[in-house]
């Protein structure tokens, strides 16, 4: 595992005590794992990212100036580590998404062909096929768009906070977020999910 924290002094990192680290780890590991899983899409890569994140945090906490919440600082470290890990795996640049490519060209592309009518989101997401389609759509997103979507729509940060974490201005965050949402919408629209496993029609309407 490579030490990567940009906040860390290059020669002799100022480290936390094990007690400080344990508290940081205990309080935030589930949060950062959830984020890592949503970014990576699989458990092993997510665990690697969590370890990389906390290793950097372990080495860099004394340089943390308290200008942001600790959780935001950890999200920032995780985001940067994720970008570096991807660069190590793949060399090719990510493609840009343009608004024009999301303009529907046929009648069937306007709506989602998925069972949601009368269902709460939680109920709709009990459909394994829908969960899989959603996960695959998010995973297909180029990383910089996926990160904006995950932070804003799944982790619940404001656009300003996402900008702090990703090192972008708010306008750029919103641009990436919009394209990411349109991308996921299009992917879901292309999937005809009609079977709702585990529920009988009518039994789940509130």
């Amino acid at each position: 595992m490579r030490a990567i924290a940009p906040h860390t002094p290059p020669r002799k990192p100022a480290r936390q005590t094990p007690e400080e680290f344990d508290k940081l780890y205990r309080d935030h590991v589930d949060l950062i794992y959830r984020y890592a899983y949503r970014l990576c899409g699989d458990t092993e890569s997510a665990k690697d990212l969590v370890q990389e994140t906390f290793l950097n945090a372990y080495q860099g906490l004394k340089d943390f100036r308290g200008e942001a919440r600790v959780s935001t600082w950890l999200y920032t470290i995780a985001s940067r580590a994720c970008i570096r890990m991807r660069r190590k795996r793949k060399g090719q640049p990510e493609h840009e998404l343009s608004i024009e490519e999301f303009v529907p060209t046929s009648e069937g592309e306007f709506r989602l062909q998925i069972p949601m009518d009368g269902l709460s989101p939680e109920e709709a997401l009990q459909n394994k096929e829908l969960r899989k389609a959603l996960d695959q759509a998010i995973e297909k997103l180029p990383q910089k768009y996926r990160m904006a979507l995950v932070l804003r729509d799944m982790e619940g940060f404001s656009a300003k906070e996402v900008g702090t974490i990703m090192g972008l201005n708010e306008r750029a965050v919103k641009s990436r977020l919009h394209r990411a949402r349109l991308f996921v919408r299009r992917e879901l629209s292309a999937r005809g999910i009609t079977h709702h496993d585990g529920y009988k029609p009518g039994s789940m309407h509130s």
Binding site: V29, K47, Q51, I114, R131, R181, L182
Partner: protein
């Protein structure tokens, strides 16, 4: 979002691409603002204009609804949880890596 058909071919319950009274580019302009609309970030006069457009353009209405559903699904997608063993093993690996440096 603006294919041409005659009004007599329309089915009221389905999204239809005809019957537009607006310019073709209006739909694309609207598409550019949809996330801001969903996130309630637009001025009220722009929101009014978008709602007016939706009234005249069933396809855009369906499209906005589908985007709202997409965002809702993302917001509610649960993530898997770590086990106690995972937490313990990762903590050990982090401390080992830190001490090895």
């Amino acid at each position: 979002m603006t294919k041409k058909k005659t009004a007599t071919q329309r089915k009221p319950s389905k999204p239809s691409s005809h019957g537009h009274s607006h310019r073709q580019g209006d739909c694309v302009n609207l598409l550019r603002q949809l996330s801001a609309y969903i996130d309630d970030e637009l001025p009220s006069d722009v929101c009014t204009e978008i709602r007016r457009h939706m009234g005249a353009c069933p396809n855009c209405e369906v499209f906005i609804s589908s985007l709202q559903h997409t965002v809702t699904l993302c917001r509610h997608r649960p993530a898997p949880q770590l086990t106690s063993a995972d937490r313990k093993n990762m903590r050990r690996a982090i401390l080992d890596a830190a001490n090895a440096q």
